[in-house]
C-alpha cells in the first residue's frame, strides 16, 4: 500500500518535474523586462548603486514589510514554543538521570579554552563594526539591514562562546532586546505612514536622496535598512537567548539555588 502510493506520487512528481525543467528559458537569455528597466533607472532615480537594495526597500518595499513580519512572527512563535514551563518533579528526575548518563559517557562539555576566550573577545568589536558597516552601506554596495543584522547578532554569540550564558544574558537582557527589536519593526510602518501623512502613497520616499555612493544616501532605503538591521539583530539575539535558556534553564536554576 505504502510502496504503491510512493510509486504513484513519485511518477507524477517526476513527470511534472521534467515538464517544468523543459520549460525553463535557456540559461543567460533573461526575458525581461523588469530587470532591464530597473537596471537602467534605479541608480538615477534613487541614488542607490546597489539595485538589489533599491528593489527590496523601495520598488518592492511593501513586500519587504511582509518579509520583515514573517521574521518577526517566526521569532515570536519560537519564543512562545520555548517559554518556560514549570516542570513536574517527574521530568526533573528523568532529566537529571540523562545528565548523569551524559557525564558517564564522557559527553560533558569540555571547559572553554584560553584560545576560544581570547579569540571570542577579539571578534566582538570586529563583528559589531562589520555589522554596522553592512547595515549603513546597503544602498551603495552589497549588504543591507538583513545581512548586517545577522552579523550584529553574532557578536553576543561570540560572547556566549567565550564566556558563559550568564554574561550573554547580562549584555543582551531579554526585555531590552524584545523592546528594541519590536520598536525597530514598527519604525518601518511609521516611515511608510509618514508618506501618507504628507499626502503621498504608503512607503513613498519622503527623506532626502542625498549623494550617490555616500553613506546615508538614497533616502528611505537607508533608513529602512537601519530599522530592519536593528530588528533582525534583535530577533536573532532573542532566538539565541531562548534556545540557550532552554538548554541551560535547569543548570542556571540549580546554580542560583
Amino acid at each position: 500500500m505504502r510502496t504503491g502510493l510512493l510509486a504513484a506520487g513519485g511518477a507524477g512528481m517526476a513527470a511534472l518535474f521534467l515538464w517544468g525543467m523543459a520549460g525553463l528559458p535557456p540559461f543567460g537569455s533573461y526575458p525581461g523586462p523588469y530587470g532591464d528597466l530597473l537596471d537602467s533607472f534605479a541608480v538615477g532615480e534613487r541614488k542607490a548603486t546597489d539595485v538589489v537594495s533599491a528593489v527590496n526597500f523601495d520598488y518592492r518595499g511593501f513586500d519587504t514589510l511582509g518579509e520583515e513580519f514573517i521574521l518577526f512572527v517566526s521569532v515570536a512563535g519560537a519564543t512562545l514554543l520555548l517559554r518556560k514551563i514549570e516542570e513536574s518533579a517527574d521530568g526533573e528526575e528523568s532529566r537529571e538521570e540523562s545528565e548523569r548518563e551524559d557525564r558517564q559517557a564522557g559527553r560533558a562539555p569540555p571547559p572553554t579554552s584560553d584560545a576560544t576566550r581570547a579569540f571570542g573577545v577579539a571578534l566582538v568589536g570586529l563583528t559589531v563594526l562589520f555589522g554596522l558597516y553592512m547595515i549603513s552601506h546597503g544602498q551603495t554596495t552589497p549588504g543591507g539591514g538583513f545581512q548586517g543584522g545577522v552579523i550584529l547578532a553574532t557578536a553576543p554569540l561570540s560572547v556566549y562562546l567565550a564566556a558563559d550564558a550568564r554574561t550573554f544574558q547580562r549584555i543582551a537582557p531579554r526585555s531590552v532586546v524584545e523592546w528594541v527589536g519590536s520598536m525597530a519593526a514598527a519604525a518601518y510602518i511609521v516611515l511608510g505612514l509618514a508618506a501618507v501623512v504628507l499626502g503621498a502613497e504608503f512607503l513613498r520616499n519622503v527623506t532626502p536622496l542625498g549623494e550617490e555612493e555616500k553613506m546615508g544616501s538614497s533616502g528611505n532605503i537607508f533608513w529602512l535598512n537601519l530599522g530592519v538591521g536593528i530588528e533582525v539583530a534583535g530577533g536573532f539575539v532573542l532566538l539565541l537567548s531562548v534556545f540557550i535558556e532552554e538548554a541551560l534553564q535547569r543548570r542556571l536554576r540549580r546554580e542560583s539555588r
Binding site: 546597489d50 538589489v52 555612493e213
Partner: protein, 116 residues
C-alpha cells in the same frame, strides 16, 4: 546541451537531495535540515533565471552606469528566501524541541498519535 544548463541541473539535484532526505528521514532535526537543503535549490534556480549572458552583478558602485547587469529582482527575491528560511528553520527546531520534551523521542514514527 550547453554548459549553462549546469545551473538548472544543480538546482534540480539539490532539490531532489532535500526531498529524498525529507521523505526518508527518521529524525526530526535531520528532517528540518533536509527541508532547509530543499529550499536552497530555489536560490540556484532564481539566480540562474535572472542571468544575462555577459552581465555583471547589479551593483553600480564605481563602474559606468550603463554596464550590462543581471536581473536585480530575482536577487532581491533570493534575499527574501534566505531570511525566511533562516527563521522558519528556527521555528521548526523549536517545534522539535517541544516534541522531544513531550514524547522523549525525535523519531517521527515513534511519536504518539494526535488525540482529539
Amino acid at each position: 546541451m550547453s554548459p549553462g544548463f549546469l545551473a538548472y541541473a544543480v538546482a534540480a539535484f539539490v532539490f531532489l537531495c532535500g526531498l529524498w532526505g525529507a521523505a526518508t528521514s527518521r529524525h526530526l532535526v535531520h528532517l528540518v535540515i533536509c527541508v532547509g537543503v530543499l529550499q536552497t535549490s530555489t536560490y540556484v534556480l532564481l539566480l540562474a533565471i535572472g542571468q544575462k549572458a555577459g552581465g555583471v552583478a547589479p551593483v553600480y558602485y564605481g563602474v559606468p552606469h550603463d554596464l550590462l547587469a543581471v536581473d536585480p529582482v530575482v536577487q532581491a527575491l533570493m534575499l527574501t528566501d534566505v531570511v525566511v528560511e533562516a527563521t522558519v528553520v528556527a521555528l521548526l527546531l523549536a517545534l522539535a524541541v517541544q516534541a522531544h520534551k513531550h514524547a522523549g523521542t525525535l523519531d517521527p514514527d515513534a511519536l504518539p498519535r494526535l488525540k482529539g
